[in-house]
């Protein structure tokens, strides 16, 4: 999952990015409205974390413009907790609103909820055949036994599981698993796919030649 954080306070931006990367998200950052809007419209992020008070133009303005073209889930973070501001944010297109200071755990949970909802899935738990993916705990278990996956492997599994039944192209996978700071080579993707197959079964991930990968939902 790839996220975009738009926050002007550099200390907070660094801290949030670090926390989210540790949660296996690929994280892009921006520190003003203009740069944030540019990035947000250039790519389909899985979730955008947006601060209200930004230089150049503020978060509410960015949201209004963003919603002309993108339906990316947006969580607004701001020090302004007055009711009119929250209503304005939510009505302008934010999907959730968190006031500072907030608990990082709550932020993570809300991001998960937004991603879950935009994938049309109601639960953090995704059952595929004998495998159970817990997106909150970031664990995968096969027939009750916990399977150890590397962060990249898990990210791959989660992404495909969130897009259950759809074919995800290699480039899309690449873009959503690695952020702008990552200079990993794309053929690493194949390595991760093969590793996952080794751990969860050869049929777990299906290849559609020329199109990409997919995980079929269990019938």
């Amino acid at each position: 999952m790839r996220l975009l954080i738009i926050e002007d306070d550099s200390l907070l931006l660094r801290s949030l990015a670090a926390s989210l990367r540790e949660e296996n998200y690929a994280v892009d950052t921006a520190s003003d409205g203009e740069d944030g809007l540019f990035k947000a419209t250039s790519f389909d992020y899985d979730c955008i974390i947006l601060d209200g008070m930004l230089p150049v133009f503020d978060g509410w303005e960015l949201l209004a413009r963003l919603r002309n073209t993108k339906i990316t889930p947006v969580l607004m973070l701001t020090a302004r907790d007055a009711l009119p501001d929250r209503v304005r944010g939510l009505d302008n297109g934010a999907d959730d609103y968190l006031t500072k200071p907030f608990d990082t755990e709550e932020l993570l949970a809300r991001i998960r909820a937004l991603i879950r909802r935009s994938a049309g899935q109601a639960s953090n738990l995704i059952q595929i055949g004998d495998a159970l993916i817990d997106t909150a705990a970031r664990t995968v278990s096969l027939r009750g036994e916990s399977i150890l996956l590397t962060p990249r492997e898990y990210a791959l599994v989660e992404y495909l599981a969130r897009h259950l039944g759809t074919v995800v192209s290699r480039s899309e996978l690449y873009e959503h698993l690695f952020d702008e700071d990552d200079d990993t080579l794309s053929n690493l993707l194949d390595v991760h796919v093969s590793n996952v197959r080794k751990k969860l079964g050869a049929d777990f991930i299906s290849t559609r030649r020329g199109h990409g990968y997919t995980i079929e939902p269990s019938t």
Binding site: D9, S31, D32, T99, K100, T104
Partner: protein
Amino acid sequence: MVVIALLCTLAHRLAADDKRERIDRELTAFERAFTRQVWELSNKRRSDGKPPPPDRMREVMQSLDANSELPLEMRDLFDPSAVDSTYLAFWDNHGRLLFQSANAPKDLTLPKPPPQDQEYSLRLYESRRELVHIGPRGFRSLVGRDISADKAALRSLALQITGCGALLWLLGLIGGWWLAGRVIRPIDVISQTATRIAGGNVSERIDVAKTDDELSRLSHVLNDTFDRLESAIKRQQQFTADASHELRTPLTVILSETSRGLKRERSADEYRDILTTCSLAGIRMRSLVESLLILARQEGDGQSQPSHGSCSLLQIITETLLLLRPLADEKETRISSDLHEVNCQGDSRALSMVAMNLISNAIDHQQTHGEVMIRLRSEEGHAILEVSDKGPGIAEKHLPHLFDRFYRVDPSRQSNGGHSGLGLAIVKAIVTNHGGSIQVESQPGAGSVFRVILPLDEAHLS
């Protein structure tokens, strides 16, 4: 009420006295008239002007009756039913009754003579007023009248006076009540308004139009007090709002970093990083709180005006430049100054803050090898301090807002460099408190000039 009672009593007494005197005069006159008549009748056959002899008078009197030649008003003397008219009786010097009028009361007796040396004596016997006269020959006469009617009239008068008095008193009472009410009502308005204001409705004021002139001054004073109260409360709310707002982000940083740090085992370096970040956030919060407090005090009522004395601006600027030397050296900024001896009345610490903020801003706003020019001079009773730089300048749209709290022009500066966004707001507050003003001129690409104008210290001019 006492006054009214006294007046009523006085009026009644005057009326009574007047009436009594009148009755007495009438009786006296009647007696004299009667006596004169008798004389005339007695002297009918004589005309020498001398009083008639007593025997003759006795005769005349004893023979008086309704047919005698007496004036009209004495006719009643012979009418037994005229009991309300004046009656009369005469005795001779031996006490023999010579004449008793038909309308006289039945129990008439020879009266005692008046006291020594007096011709007349008056007495009140039951409801009759009687006059006793002793003539030169010892003839005693008694003239009287039943004064029941008069007494009744007096009583009725007394009643009327009392009635009027009572009415007056009642009117006075009502009038007083109404007047007191009119006085109390505006006081009541004031007291109710004040209660509402104290209860939380801080913006309300006493409607001066509703109070009358005597109280309008009080109302104005109270309204002024409420103005001060409202502005103090607003300032406090502003401070609380600013503080909580600006502190939220650094707090979030600390919370985020510490919770991340505690999530798993980390290397010493990672912990160091986290702690450094927390420390930076803490430092930022401290500087923010300090700036907010300074600003709050400067914008306060002027109660905290410590060390108000004569300040040498020259000295203040020189010291500030000394303190900023390391920063200037670091950025290789060239600082030139054109300073004169200028003195102001004020708080030297606060004025140092002004100098520090303006000059350090000028240094910070430029990249390396910048230029800062400081001019200090006096002109027409004012001290003028100008701090100019050759930095990027400020767009016109920002200029009116420059001195607002937390206003940030340059997005990349934000809250990083330890600048709380309050520096210029503090400068403005201090300058205003010292009776001065601050201006800024700037063109994008052509640098900026900040000009502070302060009143000169009068004492130092000579």
